[in-house]
């Protein structure tokens, strides 16, 4: 089976959240991740995609097959042009939510993935870049 190196999934409805995480899991399988890591990657994508829908209404999730040296990995970039995040430090605290959430999405995703980067500009949008490597 041929796998695209990069896949962009527009996030505009709830069904897209499911789609994005299923695609992510599939790529994780193909990259050689075990079943636990597949679940972690799918969960992280679910959290990031939901944040897009909830806080920015629309955006996209790009998943990509990664390689560093001879290690395979999966990368996820969740980006939107929504309202952005005013206080990045607080947004990364467990339990902080301006919505109706548990406030575990961002800090949890950070714990789940090997690499985590959060960029945001108020009025400009938000971009979360995460990666996970096969052990």
């Amino acid at each position: 089976m041929l796998v695209a190196d990069e896949l962009s999934i527009p996030i505009v409805s709830e069904a897209d959240i499911v789609e994005a995480r299923q695609r992510g899991r599939q790529l994780a399988v193909e990259s050689g991740f075990g079943v636990s890591d597949q679940a972690l990657i799918a969960t992280a994508i679910s959290e990031l995609a939901r944040n897009i829908l909830q806080y920015a209404k629309r955006g996209e999730v790009v998943i990509s097959a990664e390689r560093r040296g001879n290690r395979a990995g999966v990368g996820v970039v969740a980006s939107d042009r929504g309202p952005g995040i005013a206080d990045l430090t607080r947004a990364l605290e467990d339990g902080f939510s301006t919505g109706n959430g548990l406030g575990l999405g961002l800090p949890g995703t950070r714990r789940i993935m090997d690499e985590f980067e959060l960029e945001s500009e108020v009025g400009g949008g938000t971009r979360v870049t995460v990666k996970k490597w096969v052990v």
């Binding site: 299923q22 079943v35 972690l40």
Partner: protein, 124 residues
């Protein structure tokens, strides 16, 4: 894809069979609370073994569902959390506090009978 809600004796069994969208999950929540009243069962077993992901939204809805069932006077047990998902939940910080869990349907039915018998010894 709505969740089927099956009646078995004095209990309802709700197998969540695939990925649900948030909206379907919320629909399931209301439907279950209503069915508890309509069928007058004493307990509900929610089987999540078909879920591909239990993220914070799903976990929180499961918590809400079980609390609603309790306010309606019945017991609720969540069964079938797969090992990989349990691991992801822990990493995320989702402990499902206050939710009774069991390995699978069989154990869930056992547990719910026991809970029914002991509901007051537990102080609720």
């Amino acid at each position: 894809m709505p969740v089927p809600i099956l009646k078995q004796g004095n209990y309802l069994i709700a197998p969540i069979q695939a990925s649900l969208t948030d909206e379907q999950m919320l629909l399931f929540r209301s439907k279950l609370a209503e069915e508890v009243g309509r069928t007058r069962v004493s307990g509900v077993v929610i089987d999540v073994s078909g879920l591909d992901v239990i993220d914070s939204f799903t976990a929180r809805t499961l918590q809400d569902v079980t609390r609603m069932v309790k306010l309606r006077g019945a017991e609720a047990v969540v069964v079938g959390i797969q090992p990989a998902l349990a691991f992801a939940m822990i990493q995320l910080g989702l402990g499902l506090e206050g939710v009774a869990t069991a390995l699978d349907l069989e154990e869930g039915l056992e547990l719910i009978k026991w809970l029914g018998l002991n509901r007051h010894a537990r102080g609720r």
